[in-house]
Symmetry: C2
Subunit: 257 residues, 2 copies
């Protein structure tokens, strides 16, 4: 079993953005399924659930303590860790390991008061970690905080989860290009913004994502970390996205065959 | 109009505590009305809503942008500000003033990326602020971060909101004792823990609260910032609390007569 649920596909502002009346936000207010929670995954395997980022703030209601096997973080921006500030206060004996990039600051007082969470030594970029239920390779990204994307492999099913980032560092691009062609099943990538003349500072726009797609040629591209601006652009340009691109939505699930 | 809603009456762990099976937490799981969200108030006046602390993380769903007139913070612990990390990303022109104690660090990157929030110069302790809808006097408290409680006055209706704190600094105690007797309608106070031999470090236990009650003699005491430990103790000791003490609950509302 290797099911990946998109528990959040939005950027820090989420969709709807508070107080916004644009068509994407009005749509999201009217149709809850069109809302976008903070960008995150829940990976379900035989060992339980791996939370990939923890920006949702209802995690204690969604998941029983015993269901959560481990937590993996891409980076310590609040929209990716804010859910931990409640979970940490569990008083259970067993601790939950939290894997992370090499960010000595963490977020607010998380390291000072980890509670039930045990922050593991930082990952080493490009060094695969062979867990019992799947293998994970940390891939450095390009962002305003030290950030790791991840290659997830289960038997010959391969998924790259690359957010938050603008473009890709050369080494990460080379690493992914060296994967034998046609073996990257899904490239899930930060696509916060609609096409821009000047690329955004810390996130991809559609143009950047199209370029990355050209370079890496995954079987499928999944766009996530979506702002209400991109949602508006997608409403106005329903056919602007190539066929093998998938616009992620909260609750979407992809599984190893 | 001067209605005070207890939007949260719990401590940082909230009730239920994640993964806890104590009777208070099992009760809260079974009966949502017995749950305790992060300790906070929403004060509704003719000008709109004043949020007193912002630890709830569903504020964007509970309140329309135009309803929020201002935000007042007691201190920058995450369970009192975490809701701001979403609200700030509103893209509305109008800004929301945020009043606060003199904490130069704030929380995580709130000061660096305030977004739609405008952090006001810190309050001066004991200096009343005469807003159009009510008067507020900041009262220093005793906690692990610089913290302000508040005396709220509307005509001759007076409420003191004192959390998070363990005991009271002498000056604050003198200030409140100097209020003419019988004019403090409600003293709302941090009562996180059941009676302890040794008082907790940063929060009151029942013994501390009883002592403060003796000194200040408000018409009514309201206990808030309640942990699942206190809830368990209250279940076991239903008559241990004096009559004019009220155990706050989420959703409780008190109003100026
Ligand atoms: Mn993000
Ligand atoms: Mn980020
Ligand atoms: Mn607190
Ligand atoms: Mn506190
Ligand atoms: Zn919008
Ligand atoms: Zn409990």
């Amino acid at each position: 079993m290797f099911d990946i649920e998109f528990t959040g596909t939005g950027n820090a502002g989420q969709v709807p953005v508070w107080g916004c009346q644009c068509k994407a936000c009005l749509r999201a207010i009217a149709i809850p399924a069109q809302r976008r929670a903070p960008c995150s995954l829940a990976i379900r395997t035989s060992l339980g659930i791996t939370l990939l980022d923890a920006g949702r703030t209802d995690l204690a209601e969604r998941y029983a303590f015993d269901d959560i096997h481990r937590i993996v973080l891409t980076h310590f921006h609040m929209d990716h860790v804010q859910g931990l500030f409640h979970l940490r206060w569990s008083e259970r004996e067993e601790k939950i390991p939290v894997f992370r990039p090499d960010d000595p600051a963490g977020a607010d007082d998380l390291y000072k008061h980890p509670g039930v969470l045990t922050f593991q030594p930082p990952f080493t970029p490009f060094q695969p970690v062979m867990w019992e239920d799947f293998t994970l390779t940390p891939l450095p990204l390009q962002h305003s905080k030290v950030t790791l994307g991840y290659l997830l492999e289960k038997d010959d099913f391969r998924i790259a989860y690359l957010t938050d980032t603008v473009g890709l560092p050369a080494k990460t691009e080379v690493f992914l290009s060296n994967l034998s062609p046609g073996t990257l099943d899904y490239l899930i990538i930060d696509c916060s913004e609609p096409p821009r003349d000047i690329p955004p500072k810390n996130h991809n726009d559609v143009n950047m994502v199209l370029r990355i797609h050209q370079q890496l040629r995954p079987k499928k591209m999944i766009l996530t970390h979506i702002s209400h601006r991109l949602d508006c652009w997608l409403i106005d340009n329903p056919h602007a996205i190539p066929d093998n691109f998938i616009i992620a939505y909260d609750g979407m699930i992809i599984s190893a065959p």
